[in-house]
């Protein structure tokens, strides 16, 4: 278990750094930053105010170290306090509502985009994908387009000009009630279509370009030439020799890029008023609801770390060299 354990250890360290950052950021801010937060919620009851001050590090709470330990304790008990803008609803409740929407939308769309993009990338590096080469500059343009800008365009075209898809929210709350009913699910899908399309279109380009570049490097390797020397079919050469090996750095790239993809998707949620955690985070930041803000940051970090760990696990399965490291004594 050496390889995975080492990776897990690293992710735990990263998580600890994130927690510590959360703790120190309010304390490192210039004085009027904290005042600005407190000023936004003058109506808070004394108990709530005290709790807020505890997270912000103002007031007399004891030494920094004891505050830190208290904070760590809270985090491990998943106690993030109450949201300020939705007082007295606890932060965890609000976050739990948004998490499903985001995982459903962003998770599914990202995986689809990765699979499709990687497939296109393999084609583009091979004779069979000949004409795809002409699409490359277009792909680069798409990759450079901010998610939310594309979202705006899509809404303009498909939502407003052509009224094909709804442009806000996760479902139509007026006419539909949540539940495992077909009309509800169809409505959800309807609302999720444009946001998902935005994510897929922008990130497919990125994955395709990345896979194509990796393929180009891989087909230059000696073992691919050897495969051709063996008189193997083009298909086997490209798939089993080139693509199979190119997949390894491509997956590693996926792990590294997960953070970026999620970030882009979060901002896009605001354009669609999609009630995922991105939407919640941005609103929390705008309204200076610091407990909510910090909790969501931690959640997103955990999600990215977990995704990275999953990628590592997949790597153990498909790369025999990593597998060897994994079982090495």
């Amino acid at each position: 278990m050496r390889f995975l354990l080492r990776r897990l250890g690293f992710y735990l360290v990263a998580f600890w750094v994130a927690i510590t950052l959360n703790f120190f950021i309010p304390r490192a801010m210039p004085g009027d930053a904290v005042d600005a937060v407190l000023a936004k919620f003058p109506q808070l009851q004394p108990a709530a105010r005290k709790a807020l001050e505890a997270t912000l590090g103002t007031g007399n709470q004891g030494s920094v170290w004891s505050q830190y330990l208290t904070y760590l304790n809270h985090v491990f008990h998943l106690d993030f306090g109450a949201s300020l803008s939705n007082y007295p609803t606890p932060v965890t409740t609000i976050v739990a509502n948004g998490v499903y929407w985001t995982i459903g939308l962003v998770g599914v769309a990202t995986v689809i985009a990765f699979v499709v993009g990687t497939g296109l990338g393999i084609l583009a590096a091979w004779r069979a994908g000949g004409r795809l080469d002409h699409a490359l500059p277009g792909m680069m343009f798409l990759q450079a387009t901010p998610y939310f800008f594309l979202a705006l365009l899509l809404i303009q075209v498909f939502g407003i000009t052509f009224h094909v898809f709804p442009v806000a929210g996760a479902y139509d709350g007026i006419n539909y009630t949540p539940g495992w009913t077909w009309p509800y699910i169809a409505n959800v899908a309807d609302h999720a279509f444009l946001p998902a399309l935005t994510i897929v279109v922008t990130s497919v380009a990125g994955w395709m370009l990345q896979m194509r570049n990796v393929m180009v490097t891989t087909t230059g390797e000696d073992y691919v030439v050897a495969a051709q020397a063996k008189g193997l079919s083009d298909r086997r050469v490209v798939l089993t020799y080139a693509a199979r090996n190119a997949l390894l750095p491509q997956l590693q790239g996926f792990g590294l890029a997960i953070g970026f993809v999620i970030s882009g998707a979060l901002v896009m949620e605001i354009v669609f008023s999609y009630p995922g955690i991105g939407y919640l985070l941005l609103n929390a930041a705008a309204s200076k609801d610091t407990p909510l803000m910090q909790a969501i940051f931690l959640l997103i970090t955990v999600a990215v770390l977990v995704a990275n760990l999953l990628v590592d696990i997949v790597l153990v399965f498909i790369d025999p060299r990593v597998r060897a490291m994994e079982v090495a004594r």
């Binding site: 230059g220 008189g231 193997l232 090996n245």
Partner: protein, 351 residues
Amino acid sequence: MSPVLDIKDLSIAYQTPGGDVRAASHVNLSINKGEVVGLCGESGSGKSTLAYGACRLLRPPAVITSGSVLYSGARTGTTLPVDILRLPPDDLRAIRWRDVAIVFQSAMNALNPVLRVRDQILDGMEAHLRLRKDEAHEKAARLLDLVGIPRERLRSYPHELSGGMRQRVMIAMALAADPEVVIMDEPTTALDVVVQRDILAQIVELKDTLGFSVLFITHDMSLLLELCDRIAVMYAGRIVELGSAADLQNAAAHPYTQGLLRSFPSLHGVRRELTGIPGSPPDLRDPPRGCPFIPRCGFAQPGCAQVDMSLIPVRGGRSPLHVTACPFVTHEGAVNAAPEQETTAPEGALS
């Protein structure tokens, strides 16, 4: 009997923005059945380019600009030799490995890291032979036996094997489809001397048993003198001398070959000073007229710039098959007079 592989007038160039690099120019080389032919030259001489180009394995920007590669092994349905360079892709793929196989230089790089040894041997086999699954597996196992690797290694991945083992696997892989010609590109250069000896011995044994021909490419002349029937020496993309191992060892005619022979010590014989060959290989982009060896040749004279590098039998040589590209120099040294001043009718002289 026609040679198994006959390379005729082969020229290969790389098209680069700075001009065409002539990696091989008008090379003639033939390999007969059961023969071991050595191809010797320093880095950049074009020996690997020649071998891969003959199988059309070079990547862009390589182009084959002239020549033909005639194959007439035991399996062509016709009695006429077949030109590998003009085969349609499907037939080319059929000839590869089944008739002409290659053992690559660096086994670590030439083996697919994510496939087991068994699968890599099998796919070369299955692409050309229709065998039942159990027969194929048995054959793969026997191939490992032949090269001296335990059968359990079939299930190993390349990174689990030592360097010597990997090279043996490459050899076993090359023999998987029973080829007639095996091209070996520096198969032992990356290995230590002891393993090198082992593997070379193995190659000789296999050749004797199975009867394939070998084209052995290396920069190590001493190796070739021991191993080969005939040796070709390449310089700057051209063959400069060609002859039997005995011819080259005792009566090397071309100044470059002589320089090579003086560059390594021999265990027997008189102690002599080791001299290298001063200078460096020429830029192949715009080769000057005449012989490319002029800047480094101790015998250079004005007539060298008119040499057309065609191979002529060595003057005073023991066999008409011992040919050289230098009309001026033999084993004894330079011929005193330039050829046009000779009164005897020159055979195969310059045009």
